[in-house]
C-alpha cells in the first residue's frame, strides 16, 4: 500500500557528490529538502581515486566553495596530502589537489548534512517518479512511500542499471558492490528519456603492508599546504606521502598474453569509456612502444592500510590482476584487497536538459552528476550545486542561476553538456575553457561571491570578509599606480638580481610590476605598504597587474560573445517555419532548443548562415512586436 510520506520543496535522489551539494544548496536557498540514499554509510563515497581537485577540477571545487557548497570545506578538514600543481606555469592554470581520507570524508560530509536544519535524510530506494500531467510531483520508493515535492533532482551516478565486469564475470551492481538502481532506469525509459550506455573503471586496491616502498619514489605534499575553501584557516600538519612506481615490459607482456580475457577486448563491454581515463590494457595496446607507464600508489586514508593503485584501472580477470601487479617494482608481494573492475551504466543524454539542468520534457525534474554523462567527483558536485540552486528556485519561485562560459568552469561544463552533448564520459579539461585566464583558481570568489550572496548561499559575515578583501586589492593597486620609483644604483642592483635591466627613468610601481621578472615581493621592498596585506590580496594585485594585457584581451572576447549570448531565442520558436535553415540545423535546434543565439552557434551542425538566418527571424518578431505596440499607442 502506497502511503503519503510527506511534502517537500525539493527532493534529491542520491547522496553522492552531486546529491550532497544539491541538497545543501537547496536548503541554503530556503527550500524544505529531502535527500534519499540507498545507503546512509556511503554519503559522498569515492568509489574511484582518493583525490579531489587537480587542473580544471580544482578550480571547480573553489567555485563550489564560492557558491556556498560543501566539497571544499569537507576536503580541507579531511585531506592527508595537499599539493599545488603547475606552479611553474602561469596563474591561470595553477591547480590545487588533495589526497582524501576516504572514510573520514564520508563521515564529515554526513555530519555537515545532518546539521542542516531544513534537510531530511532518509535511506530508501526510489523506483518511480510521480508524474501528473507531464509534471514531476514526487517520488515513490520500493517500500511504497510517496514523497511529494515541487522539484525533484536525480543524482544516481553510475547506479542506473549498473553492471560490474571483471574478466568474464559480470553482475548487476552499483559501484563497490552496492545495489544497482534498475527500476528507476526502466521508468525513465518509459517516460521517453534517451539513455546511453557508458563505461568506466577502477584499479585494484592493495594492502600497504605488502608494498616495498623503498623501491618506489616518494611524492610528498606541499610544505605549506593551500586550501580549497575561503573559510579554512587551519592547515593539517602531518601529511602522508604518495609513491610512484612504473609498469615494465614484463607487465606489458602479461597484458598482451591475456588481452583476450579482458572484458574491454572480449566484447563483453558495450559502453563507451573515457579516453582520458583508459584502462592499463588500453594504454598498452594503443601506445605499444612505450616501455613503461607511471603507477601512483595513493593511501586511501589515515586509519586504513588500503592503497589505491592509480594508473592501473583494469577489467582483466582477478588472477591476471595479481600477476600484473606483482611484475611491478615495489609490488612484488602485493596483496589485493579489492579487485579492479569496469562498470557499465545508463546515463541521460544531456541535451535533453535546459541549462538549469531541468529536464525539458518533464518540468519539475532535474538531473545532475554522473547520470548526465560526466565523470569525476568535482564535475558531479558542480552540477549538483547548480541543480540544487535551480530546483529550489522553481519550488520557491525565486531567481534561478545559469553561469556562462566566462563566469565559471561550472558554466563551461553545463553549457558543453546541454549544448553539445557528449559521446564519452565527460571530463573537464582546461582546454575546454575559452577564457581560462579569467577562470582562475585564485579568483573564484571574485567571480562568484556577489551571486552567492544575492541568492542566499553564503552568510553576511563571509560576504563582509569578501568585500574587505576586494577593497584592499583596489586600494593597493591605486597606491602602486601613484608611487614613483626613481632610478638608483640600489634599485638597479635589485632589478639585475631579479634577472632584469636597470631603470633609465622614473617609473610608476604599477608599471614596474608589469615586468615579467619583477615580483610583488620585490615591489613591496621598493615601496613598502603602510599595512601588512594578506597573502591572497598580494597575489591578486600581482596577477591582475602583471597579466592585465592578456586579461583585457580575454575580456574583449567575452564582450563579443555576450552580444550573441544576449540575443534571446523566444521559447515558442517554430524552427520548421523558418525558411532557409538547413535541414540538419533545424533538427539540431529542435533537439537542443538553445536559449540564445550564442548557444545556438555552439551547436555542431549549425553553421554561420543558419545563425544569420536565425538572427533575422528573431529580429522580425521584434519588429512585429514594436510595430504592434506603436499601433496600439496610436
Amino acid at each position: 500500500m502506497v502511503y503519503n510520506a510527506g511534502h517537500f520543496d525539493v527532493i534529491v535522489i542520491g547522496a553522492g557528490h552531486a546529491g550532497v551539494e544539491a541538497a545543501n544548496a537547496a536548503v541554503k536557498r530556503g527550500a524544505k529538502t529531502l535527500m534519499l540514499t540507498l545507503n546512509l554509510d556511503m554519503i559522498a563515497f569515492m568509489p574511484c581515486n582518493p583525490s579531489i581537485g587537480g587542473p580544471a577540477k580544482g578550480v571547480v571545487v573553489r567555485e563550489i566553495d564560492a557558491l556556498g557548497g560543501l566539497m571544499g570545506k569537507v576536503i580541507d578538514k579531511t585531506y592527508i596530502q595537499m599539493r599545488m600543481l603547475n606552479t611553474g606555469k602561469g596563474p591561470a592554470v595553477r591547480a590545487l589537489r588533495a589526497q582524501a581520507d576516504k572514510p573520514l570524508y564520508i563521515q564529515e560530509m554526513k555530519y555537515q548534512l545532518e546539521k542542516l536544519e531544513n534537510l531530511t535524510i532518509r535511506q530508501a530506494m526510489v523506483e518511480r517518479l510521480i508524474i501528473e500531467e507531464g509534471v514531476c510531483k514526487g517520488v515513490l520508493t520500493e517500500t511504497n512511500a510517496a514523497y511529494y515535492a515541487k522539484s525533484v533532482i536525480i543524482t544516481t551516478g553510475t547506479f542506473m542499471r549498473g553492471s560490474v565486469i571483471i574478466g568474464d564475470l559480470s553482475y548487476q551492481s552499483g559501484p563497490n558492490n552496492q545495489r544497482p538502481s534498475v527500476k528507476l532506469s526502466e521508468h525513465l525509459e518509459e517516460l521517453g528519456f534517451e539513455l546511453v550506455r557508458f563505461k568506466t573503471g577502477t584499479p585494484p586496491r592493495v594492502n600497504a603492508n605488502t608494498i616495498d616502498y623503498s623501491k618506489t619514489e616518494i611524492q610528498p605534499g606541499d610544505d605549506k599546504p593551500s586550501h580549497f575553501s575561503y573559510e579554512t584557516t587551519e592547515a593539517i600538519v602531518d601529511q602522508i606521502p604518495c609513491w610512484l612506481t612504473y609498469t615494465n615490459e614484463k607487465t606489458h607482456q602479461i597484458i598482451d598474453d591475456n588481452l583476450a580475457l579482458s572484458a574491454m577486448y572480449s566484447g563483453m563491454i558495450k559502453g563507451t569509456g573515457p579516453r582520458y581515463c583508459p584502462s592499463i590494457e588500453d594504454k598498452v595496446v594503443r601506445f605499444h612502444d612505450k616501455p613503461r607507464h607511471q603507477i601512483f600508489l595513493e593511501p586511501e586514508g589515515r586509519n586504513t592500510e588500503e592503497v589505491y593503485v592509480q594508473g592501473f584501472s583494469t577489467s582483466l580477470p582477478e588472477s591476471v590482476q595479481h600477476e600484473m601487479l606483482r611484475s611491478i617494482e615495489g609490488l612484488e608481494a602485493a596483496e589485493i584487497m579489492r579487485s579492479g573492475y569496469a562498470i557499465e551504466y545508463d546515463s541521460v543524454v544531456p541535451t535533453q536538459l535546459w541549462p538549469t539542468l531541468e529536464v525539458k520534457n518533464v518540468p519539475g525534474l532535474f538531473t545532475a552528476g554522473q547520470i548526465n554523462g560526466t565523470s569525476g567527483y568535482e564535475e558531479a558536485a558542480g552540477q549538483g550545486l547548480m541543480a540544487g540552486i535551480n530546483a529550489a528556485a522553481r519550488a520557491l519561485e525565486v531567481e534561478s542561476l545559469i553561469l556562462d562560459r566566462s563566469q565559471a568552469y561550472i558554466g563551461v561544463l553545463i553549457d558543453d553538456l546541454v549544448t553539445k552533448g557528449t559521446n564519452e564520459p565527460y571530463r573537464l579539461l582546461t582546454s575546454r575553457a575559452e577564457y581560462r585566464l579569467l577562470l582562475r583558481h585564485d579568483n573564484a570568489d571574485i567571480r562568484l561571491t556577489d551571486k552567492a550572496y544575492q541568492l542566499g548561499l553564503i552568510n553576511e559575515e563571509r560576504y563582509q570578509a569578501f568585500q574587505g578583501k576586494v577593497a584592499l586589492i583596489e586600494q593597493e593597486k591605486k597606491r602602486l599606480a601613484k608611487q614613483t620609483i626613481k632610478p638608483s644604483s640600489q634599485i638597479d642592483q635589485l632589478l639585475n638580481e631579479a634577472g632584469g635591466t636597470g631603470l633609465k627613468e622614473p617609473i610608476k610601481a604599477l608599471d614596474l610590476l608589469k615586468r615579467p621578472e619583477v615580483s610583488y615581493q620585490l615591489i613591496k621592498r621598493l615601496v613598502p605598504a603602510d599595512v601588512t596585506l594578506p597573502e591572497e590580496v598580494e597575489e591578486q594585485v600581482e596577477i591582475q597587474v602583471k597579466y592585465q594585457g592578456y586579461i583585457d584581451k580575454s575580456n574583449q572576447q567575452v564582450d563579443r560573445m555576450k552580444k550573441m549570448e544576449n540575443k534571446v531565442i523566444p521559447e515558442n520558436i517554430d524552427y520548421d517555419a523558418i525558411s532557409g535553415l538547413a535541414t540538419e540545423a533545424k533538427q539540431k535546434l529542435k533537439k537542443v532548443r538553445p536559449l540564445s543565439v550564442g548557444q545556438a552557434s555552439r551547436i555542431s551542425g549549425v553553421n554561420p548562415a543558419d545563425v544569420s538566418i536565425l538572427l533575422v527571424y528573431i529580429e522580425q518578431g521584434q519588429i512585429a512586436k514594436r510595430t504592434s505596440e506603436v499601433e496600439r499607442q496610436a
Partner: protein, 458 residues
C-alpha cells in the same frame, strides 16, 4: 542595435569603368576620413559627394583619386552611416581601398550582410523577410562554394599542415597543464615553442609574399621608366607597346592625367605607369622634381633606368641611381648606335647587382635582351607560376595577416618570458584564424588531438 562597421566591394568583380567600395556602420565615415585627402568628411552635409585623394596611411602615398559619397544615418539603405568610395575600375585599386578600410577597423562584410542590416535596422518591411533569408542562404552557399573551390589543392593542404603544427604544439602545452605529473610527456619549453612558431611564421610570410606576387600577375607589374631628358624613354615605351600589343589601354580619366599602358612581356604583364608625364615632358625628374619621382618610384614594382651611351654620366644620373638602389631595377644604356662616351665600368659599379642591357632603340637592338631580363627578374628562382593563384581573396589575405600578427604577439611574449600557457593563447588564436580560411575552427579537435597524441589518464 550594436553592430560593427562592415565594408565590401559592391560592384561586380572585373574590369568595370568604375568600382565602388561601400562601408556601413557607426565608424564608416571616420574610417574613410582617415584615408581621405580633401574635405573633412565628418563635417560635410549628409548625402553629398566629394572629390579627393585616397592616401595610404602607412606610406603616405596616393592610391587613387576618388569621389566619395557620404550618407548619414538613418536615411540610408542600411539605416546606418554609409560611405561609398567611387574609384576607377581595376581590381588593383579597389582591392587596395578595401584592404585599407579593413586595416582601419572595418570588418569584411559577410555575403548579404548589407541587406541583412537593412532588414535588422527596420529598413526593409516584413514581407521581404523571406527574401532576405533566401538571399543570405544563396549568397552564403555560393560564397562557400567559391571559397572551397579556391581552396582546393595546395593552399588548403598547406594551411592544414600549418594548423597541424600549431595544434600539436598547443596540445603539448595542454597536456603539460592537465597532466602535470606525466613524466613521459616532454615539457614544452619556450625554446621549442619559439622554433615551432617561427616555422609557421615563415610559411605564412611566404604565403603573403606569394599573394603579392599573385596580385602582380593579375594586375600587372607597375613599371616606371626614368632617365634624364632625351635618353629615349618615350621610344622605349613605344617600342615595348608596339612589340607587345597592348592588352588594355586605359582611357585617360576626366579627373586625372595619368595614363597606364598594359603590355605583356613574355608572360609578365607590365603596367607602364605615369607615362603621360613622360610623353608630355620627356622628363619627369625635371618637371616634378626629385621628391615626386621618389613617390612615383615607391609605387613601382619595377624601374627601367635609361642612360645615354653617347654622353658621360652626370650628377643627375647618379642621383637616379641613388633613388632606385633598393628597387628592382634594370639599367638600360641606350643609343649604342652612336659613339661611346659613357664610362661602362662606372655604370657597372653603380648598378651593383642589377642587370645592365645595352641597346639601340633606333636600330631596334637590345629589346629582346631587355625582355629576357624582365622575365628573368620575375621568374628565375621565384615561385612556380601555378602557385601564384594561391592566395588572392582579400578575406584570406586579411586572415593571414591577422595570423601573422598573433604569432608576433606570441613571439614577443616568449621573449618577454611570459608563462607558456599565456603564450599559448596567441598560438591557439593563430590556429583558429588559419581555421577560418579552411572553414574549420572546432574546439573539439584540440581535445581529440590531445588524446591521440599522448597516452593519458589515471
Amino acid at each position: 542595435m550594436d553592430l560593427d562597421t562592415i565594408a565590401a566591394i559592391s560592384t561586380p568583380i572585373g574590369e568595370g569603368a568604375i568600382a565602388i567600395v561601400r562601408l556601413s556602420g557607426d565608424q564608416a565615415i571616420d574610417i574613410v576620413n582617415q584615408m581621405f585627402e580633401g574635405k573633412d568628411l565628418n563635417t560635410v552635409d549628409s548625402h553629398t559627394i566629394h572629390y579627393g585623394k585616397i592616401i595610404d596611411p602607412d606610406s603616405k602615398t596616393m592610391i587613387e583619386e576618388v569621389m566619395v559619397s557620404v550618407m548619414q544615418a538613418p536615411k540610408t539603405f542600411t539605416r546606418e552611416n554609409v560611405v561609398e568610395i567611387n574609384c576607377h575600375g581595376g581590381l588593383a585599386s579597389v582591392n587596395r581601398l578595401l584592404e585599407m578600410s579593413l586595416q582601419l577597423g572595418a570588418r569584411l562584410a559577410e555575403p548579404g550582410e548589407f541587406t541583412k542590416r537593412a532588414f535588422l535596422n527596420g529598413r526593409i518591411d516584413l514581407s521581404q523577410a523571406e527574401a532576405v533569408m533566401d538571399l543570405i542562404r544563396a549568397k552564403t552557399d555560393k560564397a562557400m562554394g567559391v571559397a572551397v573551390k579556391q581552396l582546393d589543392g595546395k593552399l588548403s593542404k598547406l594551411i592544414k599542415r600549418l594548423r597541424q603544427e600549431l595544434i600539436e604544439t598547443v596540445a603539448h602545452v595542454e597536456v603539460n597543464i592537465d597532466y602535470p605529473e606525466y613524466d613521459d610527456v616532454e615539457e614544452m619549453t619556450k625554446n621549442i615553442m619559439l622554433e615551432k612558431t617561427k616555422l609557421v611564421y615563415q610559411e605564412i610570410e611566404r604565403l603573403l609574399a606569394m599573394a603579392r606576387q599573385g596580385k602582380i600577375l593579375r594586375e600587372g607589374i607597375s613599371t616606371a621608366i626614368i632617365g634624364r631628358p632625351n635618353v629615349g624613354k618615350s621610344s622605349l615605351m613605344n617600342a615595348l607597346v608596339q612589340e607587345n600589343k597592348a592588352i588594355v589601354t586605359d582611357i585617360p580619366g576626366t579627373t586625372r592625367d595619368v595614363i597606364e599602358e598594359y603590355v605583356n612581356v613574355r608572360g609578365v604583364p607590365l603596367r607602364l605607369v605615369d607615362t603621360a608625364g613622360i610623353r608630355d615632358t620627356e622628363d619627369i625628374v625635371e618637371k616634378i622634381g626629385v621628391e615626386r619621382s621618389r613617390q612615383v618610384l615607391k609605387e613601382a614594382d619595377l624601374v627601367l633606368l635609361v642612360l645615354n651611351f653617347n654622353e658621360s654620366l652626370t650628377e643627375q644620373d647618379r642621383q637616379l641611381f641613388e633613388l632606385v638602389k633598393d628597387l628592382d631595377v634594370i639599367i638600360l644604356v641606350n643609343k649604342t648606335d652612336l659613339p661611346n662616351k659613357i664610362d661602362l665600368d662606372q655604370v657597372a659599379d653603380l648598378a651593383k647587382d642589377h642587370a645592365i642591357v645595352n641597346m639601340s632603340l633606333l636600330e631596334e637592338q637590345g629589346i629582346d635582351q631587355l625582355e629576357e631580363a624582365i622575365a628573368r627578374l620575375f621568374f628565375a628562382g621565384q615561385i612556380e607560376s601555378d602557385d601564384l593563384s594561391y592566395v588572392s581573396n582579400v578575406r584570406h589575405i586579411q586572415l593571414l595577416k591577422q595570423a601573422l600578427a598573433t604569432l608576433e604577439d606570441a613571439t614577443s611574449a616568449i621573449h618577454a618570458d611570459m608563462p607558456i600557457d599565456l603564450i599559448q593563447i596567441d598560438v591557439t588564436r593563430t590556429w583558429e584564424l588559419l581555421g577560418e580560411i579552411v572553414g574549420d575552427t572546432v574546439q573539439d579537435s584540440l581535445i581529440d588531438q590531445l588524446f591521440s597524441q599522448f597516452c593519458l589518464g589515471k
